[in-house]
Symmetry: C2
Subunit: 290 residues, 2 copies
DNA sequence: ATAGTTATCTGACTTAGGTCAGATAAAATT
DNA sequence: AATTTTATCTGACCTAAGTCAGATAACTAT
């Protein structure tokens, strides 16, 4: 009915007319938009004046005046960068912090007002997660972390939940060979999480063993990021790390109830091998030499 | 990991930084934003000056000046409303049409540039459809139309496609009792389509018969609109029309492979009855007295 | 050391955008 | 018929936002 471009433009119309109102939350505190935007950029951690200027696309003269105005209001303190005395850095004063929080509160309120219109917002929020992840794809960051960190645990919970839904008899972690966190920390292994502006989108674990190979575990990609090549990026990164750790053989297991995973390994340079463990869940086994 | 408000704000950040650029397409033709917005509003069919003013939220003085500017450029012609000589209506001149098309082309180009970054945009576009539909829910319109109109046929194709995916042995319209289009047109029946800014979101047909009852057929709701009460709205409307047509008994059939449909009828005042036709697909039958 | 580059500041200037008070004419209400 | 309301227009005015040219000081490269 509608072609892709029309669908895209329909989306942008809906969003600018409904969500665009969120920008308005920068008003309502008796300060012009420009000054409010600078204050908020600083509040969100952009201390470097040049960075704020680039982010907001402001002329240097204008920026200078806006900073002066905020200084006069005693909301920020501008100091010279110790490493490069040409550069300046701006930080919020206590009063600036309060003002920034007030803006945050306004924005939260607007978001809440819009959300409250939807009796069951979960479907909507899931679609929003996907759109935000896709649009911000260039800003995805792969981070190495402890598998017990909150982002990692969130991914693992989602992963277990999905297995439980997709396996015929469900999935119970305690019956599976749940890897020791310490086996997925350097130097024995590692754990990667992909983050997109605060939302974890996927993870993968490298579990060191004493059997002459390491195992790939817990490869998961959020529904909000599927079809965008994240699994491939995670695997490439974790293989690089494995090489760094002088690991020359990788193994993994998976299940035929996850056909997209099986296909992913088959087309990703992995060779099918015989069962190499006694975990009750997997029925497909692969290895790859590095 | 993130609460609903944070997810919503993450979405709005992503969208304003990526899609916000679409607004910029209103620039680039050497005209100030205000004038460009008015020209585009008129081009999109808002001929009533008051309507444009309300839509863009402009002061009457400012509006007046912007109209004068566009008139001076010979892009629009402002005439007095024949029904109410206080009101004025603006229409594009031939030159204005060309200029409007140039803006449309710019917007299409921007949309295309953003879309082209996604190798398989279908998932993204589906999520965008859903978000746009949800955000624009207040502007949904239920329209009565001929079941052979493009929007109706689009809905029916989607409906058949979904049945084909969800029924065990697939679905073939030609084996089903496909209702005659003329049975779903007044005065025998009717056909309703729900539109949301150009995208059909759902449909329902009322098929007149000569057997003392009418049938509800082809109730479908797009994945982009599920869980938002559209089926209920469509049914309420079609029941009103049935009453208008002096129909006092409705019947319908459905299939246990569509549990949400069965539940919808069970909780919507319908009573299960015995099979009343020999269509090979349905295995659930309902009726409702008006 | 010199020349060029970079980050910021300052002052002068322009424009878009928006507000306000009143004017005008048509329509609606009493 | 008189009054009120509505839709638009006009002129005066203001401010935010942005542009530009040059100044200053610090850093970088030759």
């Amino acid at each position: 009915m509608l072609d892709d471009i029309s669908r895209f433009r329909r989306f942008s119309r809906a969003v600018t007319s409904e969500v665009g109102a969120l920008d308005t939350s920068f008003l309502g505190r008796g300060r012009p938009l420009g000054a409010a935007r600078v204050l908020n950029a600083i509040g969100h951690g952009r201390t470097d004046v040049a960075a704020v200027r680039a982010y907001l696309g402001l002329d240097s003269g204008l920026m200078s005046r806006l900073l002066r105005g905020l200084e006069d209001e005693k909301l920020i303190k501008v100091t010279t960068d110790p490493d490069d005395a040409r550069k300046r850095r701006a930080t919020l004063t206590a009063r600036g912090q309060k003002e920034f929080q007030a803006y945050e509160h306004l924005s939260d309120g607007r978001a809440q007002d819009l959300l409250v219109k939807y009796p069951h917002p979960e479907t909507l929020l899931e679609a929003m997660d996907l759109v935000a992840s896709a649009l911000g794809r260039e800003k995805w960051i792969l981070e190495e972390c402890d598998p017990r960190d909150p982002a990692a645990r969130y991914c693992l919970e989602e992963y277990y939940g999905e297995l439980n839904r997709r396996f015929d008899g469900g999935f119970d972690v305690s019956l599976s060979c749940d890897p020791d966190a310490t086996d997925m920390i350097r130097p024995r292994g590692c754990f990667l999480v992909a983050m997109s502006d605060g939302l974890p989108l996927g993870c993968v674990g490298l579990k060191g063993t004493d059997k002459g190979y390491a195992e790939i575990k817990r490869l998961w990609v959020s529904p909000a990021a599927r079809g965008m090549g994240l699994a491939r990026r995670l695997m490439a990164e974790v293989e690089d790390i494995a090489r760094d750790l002088n690991i020359d053989l990788l193994r993994l297991d998976t299940n035929s109830a996850l056909p997209e995973a099986v296909r992913f390994y088959q087309t990703g340079g992995w060779t099918e091998i015989d069962r190499f463990n006694d975990d009750p869940y997997p029925d497909f086994f692969f290895e790859k030499a590095l």
